[in-house]
Amino acid sequence: VTAAVVVVVFVGVYVLIATERVSRVAAALGGAAIVLAVGAVGSNDVFYSRETGIDWNVIFLLFAMMVIVSVLKQTGLFEYLAVWSAKRARGRPYRVMVMLCLITALASTVLPNVAIVLLAAPVTLLVCERLRLRPAPFLIAEALASNIGGTATLIGDPPNLIIGSRGDLSFNDFLVNLGPVVVVVLVAFLVLCRWLFRREYVYDPARVEEVMELTEREAIGDRGLLVRSLIVLFLVIAGFVAGQPLDIDPSIVALFGAGALVLTSRLETRDYLEDVEWETLVFFMGLFVLVGALTKVGVIQDLADFAADATDGRLFYASMLLLWMSAGLSAVVDNIPYVATMAPVVAELTAHAPPDTDPRVLWWALALGADLGGNATAIGASANVVVLGVAKRNGYPIGFWEFTKYGAVVAVVSLAICVPYIWLRYFVLA
């Protein structure tokens, strides 16, 4: 009976999140409260269990990265790079788009996607207005580039944090296994942009002077803060890379980095907490309690058994199923709850994978599907939703279908690139 109640509550929460009838935080916390009230899990399960509890590793890693981005934002570095790149592109629209997408994708590998698109959007609007270009294609391309870039690392996209923690995968594991395919996907995406937005690259050469007149150096208000922030960011990334051999969790590295930035920046509390999305952190906590309840009552084990039977222990089929199913679901529902649910299932599958295979391919398939699938629709990823909001607020509304018609093409092409990559790397050349 308890298992049935937990499943009903879980499905109900999912429906509420997908339909946005109530805020996702309220839905997740409400569901968590019910599973606690019916005794499916207790305080020990919720707070102290690695299998069924709140994953504090993920919560604190996310929190620390949000603090780091709050401080970095104050430096004006992103604005400097964006204006500099638009000037280097000499105002040619396609070149400007490529430069902005490259910066966005690169920044998204080490900082949260939402923060990066929030930084990219204003400067993009400025450049587009100067060149009298329609900003929508540029904003859409940046959101897509951000989701692609974020796929490459452990800290690039929230689903990767969950996968890394549940799968015991390090920063280096992500970089080595997902980095190469993300580079290929990014190059393909930039080529695709030439065709997708081909009608948008008409510009007036006389307007280029307006971009060249922008003074990017002025964007950097406090050079000392910029230098200190870049040193700390470099050390944090070095810490992520060195964390695996030294057995230091990424969350600890990120917390040290956030602390160092807070101390050296000498910013006010409200400034360095400005970009902490408390809602997201609480949402994660509620989700972990719900998924923990599913694990405790045995539903996750049943799901894993069913998936193992369905794929008959064939790892390639299982990885393809995970890749495309994750992409399809992540396109229409939030990929965070999806990955939070699937992570324990994949953990079970990898634990019982056939010998002489590398079962981690299932984790990579889950990450690629969930992250890149988010590009398919306007609501598939948080970065997409944020870009739509910024565009609307500035008088350049982007419709759901306008985004989706480009995003769907990019998502399908990206996933199609992942198929031969997975096959060759983990099955043919393994």
Partner: protein, 201 residues
């Protein structure tokens, strides 16, 4: 009132002494949340002053007044804001100068202030283009607070409380169904600082 700029009572600008008749307008509705204790009122040093005594003639615009004209009026007369009338001639809103600037400065620069640094002077010259072809109605924020208005017998503290609550640099003064004028923040501060409260012995 039409789409033109007019003036409140006692103005030397053309409608002196006429006042503006405000029919069927329950100004008390706008004051319901402001409660002022008499002892506080007495402590500021100017308990006898009432809004009607310090109300000044004030330029009025309507929702249909061209935005450029309204901005020009603010600049020319160095006003902190304007009283906006609706199409039936009733006070509709206060248009503070800062709201006009919010309309002139692109939203993305307000989102990211460091972008203001990268713009050159030539861009500053073009900011006023945003007002062209627009009316005062379009300058007003979509979601407005209630109209900052006080009764003719409102005390200095009541006026200050209304100003502070709505963060408005101007408060309209209404009495007998007429718009009697307005009190500006500079006028009120001058009055409040004129007679500071006595220091305790």
């Amino acid at each position: 009132v039409g789409g033109r700029t007019t003036y409140g009572p006692h103005s030397s600008g053309g409608h002196a002494g006429m006042g503006l008749i405000v029919r069927d307008w329950d100004w008390r509705r706008y004051q319901r949340a402001v409660l002022i204790a008499p002892e506080i009122s007495a402590s500021v040093g100017c308990p006898d002053v009432q809004a009607r005594d310090i109300a000044e003639p004030f330029p009025l615009v309507t929702v249909d007044t061209p935005a450029v004209e309204a901005a020009g009026l603010l600049a020319e007369r160095r006003l902190p804001g304007l009283i906006v009338l609706d199409r039936s001639g009733r006070p509709h809103a206060i248009l503070p100068g800062s709201q006009v600037l919010r309309f002139m400065i692109p939203g993305y620069i307000q989102d990211d202030l460091s972008l203001a640094h990268v713009l050159d002077e030539r861009h500053a010259d073009r900011l006023s283009e945003a007002l062209r072809g627009k009316t005062v109605e379009q300058l007003l924020p979509a979601r407005r607070d209630e109209l900052p208005v006080v009764a003719a017998d409102a005390t200095a503290v009541e006026i200050a409380a209304v100003m502070a609550r709505w963060r408005s640099p101007v408060v309209a003064v209404v009495g007998g169904g007429r718009l009697l004028g307005a009190v500006t923040v500079s006028r009120l501060l001058g009055l409040l600082l004129e007679r500071p409260p006595e220091s305790p012995a």
